[in-house]
Symmetry: C2
Subunit: 300 residues, 2 copies
């Protein structure tokens, strides 16, 4: 996805938020915004938002000298999500369609991240999702939901690459991976996280803390963009990326980085801002399960 | 009010919105954002947001060569508000406390502007306000409401300067001015608008279209900031500003420009963003009627 002009005010907001989370004082925050103002003038809009995002967070790290400002937030989200794990498992096991429920819960994990960034009560929202009678996600929120295509691809695929998004959310990914494994015990599933700290994205240790390693091989993509920026990924990752039969791409950042790819990717995310909603052709807050060849339409 | 760092992302958003309203293509929009990025680095945070706002809109005008991009929006808002005038008058005349109702409606006018900028259905919201049984503004939304002080000041004042905010909203100001005149026929009321186009702020012609001239003397403040920036105002305006016994300052922009003044000003606005909410000590969306000496508290 290209960077929209609407992303520019948001980049300044992200830089300010990150500077504050890194504990920068007002003067340092202003210095970071000034440096971003210089950078932004040279930034080509043909680049993807995660490419600019990476530049922003590198700048914040460089100025504040904090390598992982989101460390505590990630640890807290891991703990919170793990507390819900038994309830998530029960929810799937009692469901008429366990795979659908697991998919919905994986997207619910993405909603939590949105909630956290928008001061929603994450704990309360999680409880609401889990207490809802039928589906975790309301039917009307599913703007694009290629479930039957997803099932078909899953059936045929021998190897699946699952691109992680945020720490904490990883527990929800585990639910989906375990459900896939319970249906197809022979599938090879590889779970790819980021190489170095970038916002609250999951790293190797988060994947282990959240127990993903019990049902998938955990690898790093070799890069630190807030989305899988292929030219920056490791050779090992790219070899796997090209080899696998199916990719499950989690979160908005991975969509932004990979939306122009033509290999079989299923994007799984909540559309969290007007720019992505415009790109996908949906509304902000919509839930998306989309095969990359089925872009730009508004139907389930 | 000083400019908060949180205002910076918002300045970029405002510039982009204004560029689009002025009909700029994507390339020109980017050029405007780049120019702003250059300017922002030199901008002192000790300045008020309307000072930066003025710079932004001047930049948009300069690049797009459109002198008044908001002309049509203002005309539409004037028409819409005038349609509601008879109903607003009836509402005040049937009220147990006509002055309070007129004050609430004047703030409701400020809400409409907020609605317009946030894609609310303004027409629908107006109808809701006017159909509500009791007060136009809910009691819980009035974070600071110095009504008894306002009545006291009004009683004592011989001359009142009313600082206008947006076109359209002017009809709601007229309701309040007419109510003041119906109680105190002898008060001198001067209604000050902006000298040249700035966003959707009311100009002399808007005041006349909305019929303010029937009960107040209409003047220009001599400047074109999106708030009354005193150092840029005309000598004539400043003479009146210093002479009058009471100032009614309408809207967020005028609060931002005048919050540090020590003469008797009553600020009347809705807190539309986190920066002003932080400055006032209230929540976004709160309704404020505040004497300038009674800042930083949370009580009615």
């Amino acid at each position: 996805m290209k960077t929209y002009l609407d992303c520019i005010p948001c980049f300044f907001k992200q830089a300010l938020d990150a500077a504050r989370i890194a504990g920068a004082n007002e003067l340092t925050q202003k210095r970071i915004l000034n440096r971003l103002a210089k950078t932004i003038q040279k930034f080509p809009l043909s680049s993807t938002p995660p490419e600019m995002g990476r530049t922003i967070y590198k700048l914040v790290k460089e100025v504040t000298k904090k390598d992982d400002p989101y460390r505590e937030i990630k640890a807290k989200n891991n703990r919170l999500a793990l507390r819900f794990y038994p309830k998530l498992k029960r929810r799937v096991s009692y469901s008429k369609d366990g795979l659908l429920t697991a998919l919905e819960l994986a997207i619910a994990g993405n909603i939590i991240d949105y909630g956290a960034k928008n001061s929603l009560n994450v704990d309360k929202r999680l409880k609401e999702i889990l207490n809802e009678e039928e589906n975790a996600i309301k039917q009307e929120d599913k703007a694009i939901f290629d479930y039957s295509q997803f099932k078909d691809s899953l059936k045929k695929a021998n190897s699946i690459l699952y691109l992680a998004d945020n720490a904490g959310e990883t527990v929800f990914d585990r639910i989906l991976i375990e459900e896939i494994k319970s249906i197809y015990n022979d599938k090879e599933i590889i779970y790819a996280v980021k190489e170095r700290p970038i916002i609250n994205d999951a790293l190797i240790q988060d994947a282990y803390i959240c127990g993903i390693d019990k049902s998938a091989e955990v690898i790093s993509c070799g890069s630190d963009g807030p989305g899988t920026i292929l030219p920056l990924c490791s050779k090992n990752f790219l070899k796997i990326y090209k080899r696998v039969d199916m990719v499950i791409s989690k979160g908005q950042g991975n969509y932004e980085a990979l939306s122009k790819e033509r290999c079989p990717i299923f994007f799984l995310f909540m559309a969290k801002c007007p720019a992505i909603a415009k790109d996908v052709g949906c509304n902000v807050g919509d839930i998306i399960l989309m095969k990359n060849s089925s872009r730009k339409r508004k139907a389930i």
